[in-house]
């Protein structure tokens, strides 16, 4: 009688807890898509640097690489654009299977004209995007881009911003990010934050994520 009491009091609760935990883990696994990719659900109305409309439909044409920056950025933005220019060159004929966007984090200063002039120093396939603050915010939020204007006094400001490229596949799913390492090369990171290997083969990893 005493042993039966111990069995109920001690072992049964732990069996119950284990069952609950296992069911919970199984449920999460079943609901997770491979690569944890989520389709971007957003409507926005922006302009490209040539004065054409740019909206969510353009993201469906081809896989895309998007970078968010601004022309008053001395360091990480021009460095990233130069690395992207090198990457496009290294992609060779495959380069045209992807669209490349430089989306401004600073629509106050980055007009279509300024973006066009600035981007003329890099690969011609990189398209500058600007527009109204509210419309840009929709795209920032949809892609989890952090943009924060920081007042430096006397009318000057800088912008804290996510400095990695967003990798979007042709189904408009965010499948990973591309980050520069030491400003000298890119590394590709999947949605779990895992660096894709081989680490130094950006092109191979990019093609794998985009199924090119």
């Amino acid at each position: 009688m005493i042993t039966k009491h111990i069995l109920l009091k001690r072992i049964l609760p732990s069996i119950l807890i284990t069952t609950v935990v296992l069911v919970f883990i199984g449920y999460n696994f079943a609901n997770k898509k491979p690569n944890a990719a989520q389709q971007i659900q957003v409507n926005f109305n922006l302009q490209d640097m040539n004065g054409n409309q740019f909206n969510q439909k353009h993201l469906k044409q081809k896989p895309s690489l998007l970078f968010f920056g601004f022309t008053h950025c001395p360091d990480v933005c021009p460095a990233s654009l130069q690395l992207l220019t090198n990457l496009i060159e290294d992609l060779g004929p495959d380069a045209d299977k992807i669209n490349y966007y430089f989306v401004t984090a600073d629509p106050e200063r980055d007009t279509t004209k300024i973006l066009k002039q600035y981007l003329s120093s890099f690969d011609q396939r990189i398209l500058g995007i600007t527009g109204k603050q509210d419309e840009l915010k929709k795209l920032y939020n949809a892609l989890d881009i952090y943009i924060q204007k920081v007042d430096l006094g006397k009318g000057n400001y800088t912008i804290d911003h996510t400095a990695s490229f967003m990798i979007i596949n042709k189904d408009t799913e965010k499948v990973g990010t591309m980050m520069h390492e030491g400003f000298s090369k890119f590394i590709v990171i999947d949605n779990y934050g895992k660096i894709q290997t081989p680490k130094d083969d950006v092109i191979k990893n990019l093609k794998k994520l985009l199924q090119l």
Binding site: T71, H72, C73, P74, D75, V76, P78, A79, L81, Q82, N86, I114, Q117, Y118, L119, S120, S121, F122, Y146, V150, L152, N156, T158, D160, H161, T162, A163, S164, T177, M179, G182, F183, S184, K185
Partner: protein
């Protein structure tokens, strides 16, 4: 037979020392950036800046600063820049893939008997309101003002974005 081996070893040694000297000649090719400046116990190595994209209003300058003194020094400000409206000393940090840049109003400390790199993704001299484009082959004058060592005129040499001072690489791949 023994003589033959000695001869082979001699050949290997002499060719390797030859290729060694050839290597150092290769380094001299990068002489365009090998310019140093001294003031007191401070040495400035290879100040450089990048060519700017068309229409850029800002740019950044980089260098290595060595402090041979047993006291710390501070790069308090940069002045005497004719090609920009303002100059500031900045620090850039990267956290969770977010880039943040802040002016260092008190300047940047160079600890006693140590070296400090101003380089992309760290500290830089920020040129704000460029009056002209930073272009290839040109030199850009500035005065660095140190708390202890005093002031020194330097020239930033303009290089391409694929330049990395530590590696002596001018191109990618």
């Amino acid at each position: 037979m023994k003589k033959f081996f000695t001869f082979i070893i001699f050949i290997i040694f002499s060719t390797s020392s030859f290729s060694g000297s050839h290597h150092s000649h290769g380094h001299k090719k990068n002489k365009e950036i090998d310019h140093d400046y001294k003031i007191g116990k401070i040495k400035i190595e290879k100040p450089y800046t990048f060519f700017t994209p068309n229409g850029a209003k800002v740019s950044a300058g980089y260098m290595k600063i060595e402090n041979y003194s047993n006291k710390q020094d501070v790069l308090q400000s940069v002045s005497n820049v004719s090609f920009a409206d303002r100059v500031e000393i900045h620090e850039m940090t990267m956290e969770n893939q977010v880039m943040k840049m802040r002016p260092l109003k008190k300047g940047v400390v160079i600890k006693a008997d140590s070296e400090l790199y101003l380089k992309p993704s760290g500290y830089h001299i920020m040129f704000i309101g460029l009056k002209e484009q930073i272009s290839k082959g040109k030199e850009y004058k500035a005065t660095l003002n140190f708390k202890n060592a005093g002031s020194v005129d330097i020239f930033f040499k303009a290089v391409g974005r694929n330049y990395h001072p530590d590696k002596n690489h001018h191109k990618h791949h």
